[in-house]
Symmetry: C2
Subunit: 390 residues, 2 copies
Amino acid sequence: MKRFEAGKYLDLFRRELLERVIPFWLEHSLDRECGGYFTCLDRDGRVYDTTKFMWLQSRQVWMLSRLYNSLDKNEVWLDAARLGFEFIRKYGRDQSSGRVYFSLARDGRPLSIQRKIFAEVFYVMALNEYSRAAGDREINKEAVEIFEKVIKWAADPAALGRPLLEGQRPSSSLAVPMSILWMAEQLGRGGDEKAFQPFIDNSIKGILLHLKSEKKIVLENVAPDGSLLDGTNGRLINPGHAIEAGWFVLEEARKTGDREVKEKALKMIEWSLEKGWDKEYGGIFYFLDAEDFPSPHLEWFMKLWWPHCEAAYATLLAFRETGDKHFAALFQKVADYAFSRFSDPLYGEWFGYLDRHGMPTHTLKGGAYKGFFHVPRFLLLSIKLLEEIA
Amino acid sequence: MKRFEAGKYLDLFRRELLERVIPFWLEHSLDRECGGYFTCLDRDGRVYDTTKFMWLQSRQVWMLSRLYNSLDKNEVWLDAARLGFEFIRKYGRDQSSGRVYFSLARDGRPLSIQRKIFAEVFYVMALNEYSRAAGDREINKEAVEIFEKVIKWAADPAALGRPLLEGQRPSSSLAVPMSILWMAEQLGRGGDEKAFQPFIDNSIKGILLHLKSEKKIVLENVAPDGSLLDGTNGRLINPGHAIEAGWFVLEEARKTGDREVKEKALKMIEWSLEKGWDKEYGGIFYFLDAEDFPSPHLEWFMKLWWPHCEAAYATLLAFRETGDKHFAALFQKVADYAFSRFSDPLYGEWFGYLDRHGMPTHTLKGGAYKGFFHVPRFLLLSIKLLEEIA
């Protein structure tokens, strides 16, 4: 491999973020009439559904606030963050239970609520980051209060109303320790690191239970003691998710200097990308079965934008932490695939969904799960790293 | 078009059903140790997950019983039906609520329950058809009792525990009147027709609210008065489902001789097949948006086995009812696509999932939603019609 040309990627990523991604969302997603954001945007930004999905409302508040806090004190970004913040603060929670809704009508009236913790997770992230952008620590109190509830709910799977039935074997989903780690890292920023470090340490332990070194895989679901679960659910691999968990852990190991944890995080990234990469057509599969049995997911073979964002940043971080050119080569492979397949040369932003061959199956730029989040987060984090490298 | 060669299809369908479909399931799905059926079967019949999904347990009991009742008094089929019947009777329902579970562990312990009526619908079907096969009318009492509950639940969407939130607009899903029509037709068989006819009439009215003649489409979701709903949900088209509803209604119109209903049923089938057929690569899309906006379903472009089963039978029935060679040509187009793409020449049974180009994406023959149901039902019903035509 030639010398790694950090400057070239830095330039590409800056232009992508500032000229092609942020403008798309600022132009098309802001609902100045009812507040909050439209996220169901077609290729050219046309709104095809006005539902306000709370995951994406909160993620957009977080992302805009983070851009403001860490890249540029751009008042346009802060103003756009405020539009979403005021909307989720006013309409996002059920007043009687305190739960965060999953989706709202355009005007904020509630549509649905899930028996899962993730709407709360993104809400916590949004409030904390926005409180820093707005310079109002008072807002953060609500974030901490919900964080404490999520910790309790995560320890008691029946707490959100899903019945516990006797045939169920207790199971740990990778998403839960990842969410707690992510929230704890966020809430600890700016002075509260010590208070939240035990949650981080505990989450890392939980995440590493999913790493199966003898098979060189990361499983999505394991028993609470880390042992294998039977069947399709126990064999599920979500390579993009495992890679994302890998860089979460790697960033923590970078701070603490824990070499054993660092090695494990690098393995999570390397093995999941190796297992998840489609050797025939390129790109990262959405789901796999650890023993190559059929996936229960119809869309297992599709290439989604976000695993490629996660993998590009994770491999860049791994390169930064190790200096190992193998990771630089992986980064280039993933970034080159992603930019050539997902990035829309005509209207900006990225397509979300490709078939196995890498052709878009959907013209949309946003929907119920794709918003202003994975692409700008990956670009922002990568720009910071590339600045260090270059 | 040449003269329709009913005899050739009759021969093909008989061999497919008796030599390639039924033997696959009898050989691989019967769990003689714990009772019930394995449905997660790989291409060669290997079990890749032992979960017992109640939809598929009940559908297999129904299908085996129906084959026994209407094709051949084969004791092997009745014995296999009994294996499933005894399992679902023993383990299928929650004793406290009376609800039917969604899934069970291999040994019958409960795993999950849905806030939907469909596990009950298939359970009702199974008990009624099996009671006739076993010559035990006592069994049918439980079916009628659950049917009455389902009618109540269908009229009160919050009854199953899903919260009614203030932003929700009341919505009618095509699946609900279809399910009630299907159960009422089943329960009315053999003497009780009159008692169940009002449910059938009412369901047909409910189904026909989804037919939008001005746009030549059938919508999956409409307001209870038939008016259009906003957004992605209101524009959803599931062509296979609409075609299935069409032949349900056409069969009823055939009995009552109602010409207006018959014409509408024919339009449901014709328009949905026209809209749903992939003009570029062939096959029926899984989901579409009525105004061609992006689908919220990742797998919208895939070709699933069951819409092709439904469309082949529906067009054959339409041909039988009208003598219109246009429907014979549609039948041939769908049947030829289905047999050449889904039917597995090596191990029998059909593949379930193809990519847009018609190549299998999964090797499985069964899973959480594909069992011993759509393929044999389509073949059995078609054989009966082809015998009339030939």
